[in-house]
């Protein structure tokens, strides 16, 4: 009886599962397995000295203790945050401005499609190529220094890469240029999602465009803003390619532009999977907490 009943109901569930297989397989191989092995590695002493493999020996939480005791870790974390903040503040301000211009129908901006494409373009360049370009532009004998000297602004070439804030500013600037287009598009989507009748009602009541922006757009945009901020923070924590290429992997001067992931990468010179693994797990936990916040927020938003 049962089987007869089943035969009549067409069940599409199994197709769903079958079509999920490619994703699950790829996920398992390229995400899950590395994740588990990284965590496993973090409990072992495992590195290579020359051509001699040392370990793996199980040492419990020693790698974590070594990393957390190392005062440098906090310096690298601070560097990462400083460079992220320096890039994020201009990024969010410019993006808000551009997004409100693009999404304001009363401005009737011409060539919107063109500009939206152009501001997104820097994100399409490979970060390493972009960093290489900046390295050449801002080197001691590079074009930027020649121009500044010819204009008479400086007498001696300015050594951008021998100056703490010079290097940090360049990293922040590059991150800003690369990501403000992306943020603009996210914010624009958020702004277009706001009910237009609210704007109209405000206009009828005689609100200025400034008031509309601060009293209506911004408060209603808050969830998107927080989302943008947290995802950017997660991205910022993983900052690697730009400073790595720009400083040739050194994080100079005095490692003031060395980020957490660059530090992790340093351990890979000696294939020190134990230390690198422990550092990865710590970063994973921090990133996980941040992601949870985003998740809660977006869910809370739905209940409203």
């Amino acid at each position: 009886m049962k089987s007869a009943k089943r035969g009549k109901v067409v069940s599409y569930n199994k197709w769903g599962y079958i079509f999920l297989i490619p994703f699950v397989v790829v996920y398992l191989i390229f995400q899950f397995v590395p994740l588990v092995t990284t965590i496993a590695n973090s409990f072992y002493e495992n590195y290579r000295s020359g051509l001699t493999q040392i370990g793996p020996n199980f040492i419990g939480f020693d790698n974590y203790a070594a990393i957390l005791k190392n005062p440098d870790l906090w310096i690298y974390a601070k560097n990462t945050l400083i460079m992220w903040v320096m890039g994020f503040i201009p990024q969010i301000l410019v993006s808000l401005l551009l997004a409100s211009w693009f999404s304001n129908p009363s401005l009737r901006l011409k060539g919107q499609g063109f500009f939206k494409t152009v501001i997104y373009l820097p994100n399409l360049i490979m970060a390493s190529a972009f960093a290489m370009l900046f390295f050449t532009l801002f080197s001691e004998g590079g074009p930027v220094n020649s121009i500044l000297m010819q204009l008479g602004i400086i007498q001696e070439p300015f050594k951008f890469f021998a100056n703490v804030w010079g290097t940090r500013s360049l990293v922040a600037f590059m991150n800003f240029v690369m990501w403000f287009g992306n943020t603009t598009i996210l914010l624009m989507a958020g702004m277009m999602g706001i009910d237009t009748s609210l704007f109209e009602a405000a206009q009828v009541d005689g609100a200025t465009s400034k008031q509309i922006f601060f009293r209506i757009t911004l408060p209603l945009l808050k969830p998107i803003l927080v989302y943008v901020m947290i995802t950017s923070l997660i991205g910022g924590l993983q900052m690697f390619d730009v400073p790595q290429i720009l400083t040739n992997g050194s994080g100079e001067p005095m490692r003031s532009s060395m980020t957490l992931i660059m530090y992790l990468n340093k351990h890979l010179f000696s294939k020190n999977y134990g230390m690198a693994g422990a550092l990865s797990v710590l970063l994973f936990i921090v990133t996980g907490i941040l992601s949870l916040i985003v998740f809660k927020m977006t869910n809370a938003n739905k209940e409203d």
């Binding site: 297989i21 290579r48 051509l51 004998g141 100056n163 100079e252 005095m254």
Partner: protein
């Protein structure tokens, strides 16, 4: 029903596609594994056979000769001087019916060694045609490979002490392992000299005669005074503080690592002291070596008086083939400089497990022991080769002169330098220590750190690279 059939078909084909994708791959590896196993047996049989009989029968030779290197220097030498090598394209060549595959990985960021390490560690399980056959090493890290089982003793190739008798002893010392077994050979000797610009010497000192200029740089105090003189005339004595580093680091009295502890030699601290003064006075810059800023001095606009280096620097690196460079106009000259030193050099090693023993033996013999071929390397490429009698003879020979050096015969200076080389203080950590020391000291030179802070940074960076060390 049709729909269902279609979706079944789609799903099945998709899953099947994935499975076959993986399946065929595993099948592939399985077969290659098997192939490796069988060929490995053959290969070991081969080597034992050659070892026993030391006969060169090309029938036993593998079809592919895999060469691991970091630039095209060796390739250029082989192309120009090894009889029977024909180029196919940039990464492939042929010697007889053996295919030569060039595996070039740049030295930057340790990439060459990382790549070579992986290849060597996987040597046993690799298919015969993809095994490393021949690899090149530099003095800075030669010990790492020489002191392992991955490099084959030269004697096992059938090359005797008599064959290498004319080579400079120091070139053999570098690639001799801790048990006294020789494991590599080089075609070049790398005594360093000071190359200076004739133009600037004439303008500032009134002469470009090497003997006269030598008086201006005969020791470090004089060198320092000369730097002031050059600065007043608007020139830098060297491009970067790092230029003179090798001169100091080759004259040390202790190793970088002593009993597992990092150790900074006194002489290296002297380099720091002098360089700091020079940088503060604006007489040298702090560029990283090999960068664009560093190599500006290869051209007259760079306003750099001198570079320290061995023969390969001038023939291979200093843009002599570029229109408008000083080298192109024959504008350099060579003199001993304040102290003798050596720098770099490329050694040829045979990888254990190779199936091209006879070919490697022949390449080594031709390039590093054959006097005629070696002489032609000197004449055509301005290199300094690893053959004492030939070099001594050519040093006296007035018919040889270097175009880049404006008609000077520098071999006498090289010959004098090579006699005094002391290599007792090399260690397997030299490359990492040198790199990190220069990097850390740049902070001190630029005023971003005190000397103590810079040293601290150096220790930290070295321990990251070599976790087994302490300080």
């Amino acid at each position: 029903m049709k729909k269902k059939a279609l979706s079944t078909l789609l799903a099945v084909s998709m899953v099947a596609g994935m499975v076959t994708g993986c399946g065929s791959q595993t099948a592939d590896t399985a077969t290659t594994d098997k192939a490796t196993e069988t060929t490995e047996v053959v290969a070991t049989a081969d080597t034992t056979a050659t070892e026993a009989a030391v006969t060169e029968t090309s029938a036993e030779e593998g079809k592919v000769l895999n060469v691991y290197c970091w630039n095209d220097e060796f390739q250029r030498r082989l192309k120009a001087h090894y009889p029977g090598y024909t180029e196919v394209d940039a990464t492939h060549g042929k010697i007889g019916d053996i295919e030569v595959v060039w595996n070039m990985t740049p030295n930057t960021d340790n990439a060459y060694q990382n790549n070579l390490d992986e290849a060597l560690l996987g040597q046993e399980s690799a298919a015969t045609d993809s095994k490393v056959d021949l690899f090149l090493v530099e003095a800075d890290y030669a010990l790492k490979y020489v002191d392992s089982d991955y490099a084959m003793p030269i004697a096992d190739l059938g090359i005797t002490d008599a064959d290498t008798a004319n080579q400079y002893q120091y070139t053999k010392d570098i690639v001799t392992d801790s048990n006294g077994v020789l494991k590599g050979l080089s075609w070049q000797g790398c005594p360093g000299v000071m190359f200076y610009s004739r133009e600037i010497a004439k303008e500032v000192f009134g002469t470009d005669d090497p003997a006269e200029v030598q008086k201006k740089v005969c020791d470090w105090d004089t060198y320092r005074a000369t730097a002031d003189e050059l600065k007043a005339a608007g020139y830098q004595i060297a491009s970067s503080a790092n230029d003179s580093y090798r001169v100091f680091s080759n004259n040390v009295s202790s190793k970088w690592v002593v009993d597992g502890k990092i150790n900074i030699d006194e002489n290296i601290m002297k380099w720091v002291e002098m360089s700091k003064e020079l940088v503060d006075a604006g007489e040298v810059a702090t560029h990283d070596m090999w960068g664009d800023d560093w190599s500006k001095g290869f051209y007259p606009e760079g306003k750099v008086f001198s570079y320290f280096g061995p023969a390969w620097l001038i023939n291979f690196c200093m843009a002599a083939d570029q229109e408008g460079s000083i080298g192109n106009q024959g504008g350099w000259a060579a003199t001993e400089g304040p102290q003798g030193f050596f720098w770099g050099g490329t050694w040829i090693c045979a990888a254990a497990g190779t199936d091209n023993v006879a070919t490697i033996k022949d390449i080594m013999l031709k390039l590093t022991c054959d006097e005629e071929i070696m002489k032609s390397i000197v004449v055509e490429d301005d290199d300094f080769v690893n053959n004492k009698p030939a070099m001594d003879a050519m040093a006296q020979d007035t018919s040889y002169s270097s175009k880049v050096l404006g008609g000077q015969n520098p071999l006498g200076i090289y010959c004098a330098g090579v006699e005094n080389l002391d290599l007792s203080n090399l260690s397997a950590y030299d490359l990492g220590c040198t790199e990190e020391f220069q990097r850390a000291m740049k902070n001190y030179f630029e005023g971003n750190a005190t000397l103590e802070e810079a040293k601290e940074l150096f220790y930290k960076a070295v321990v990251e690279k070599y976790p087994e060390l302490t300080y």
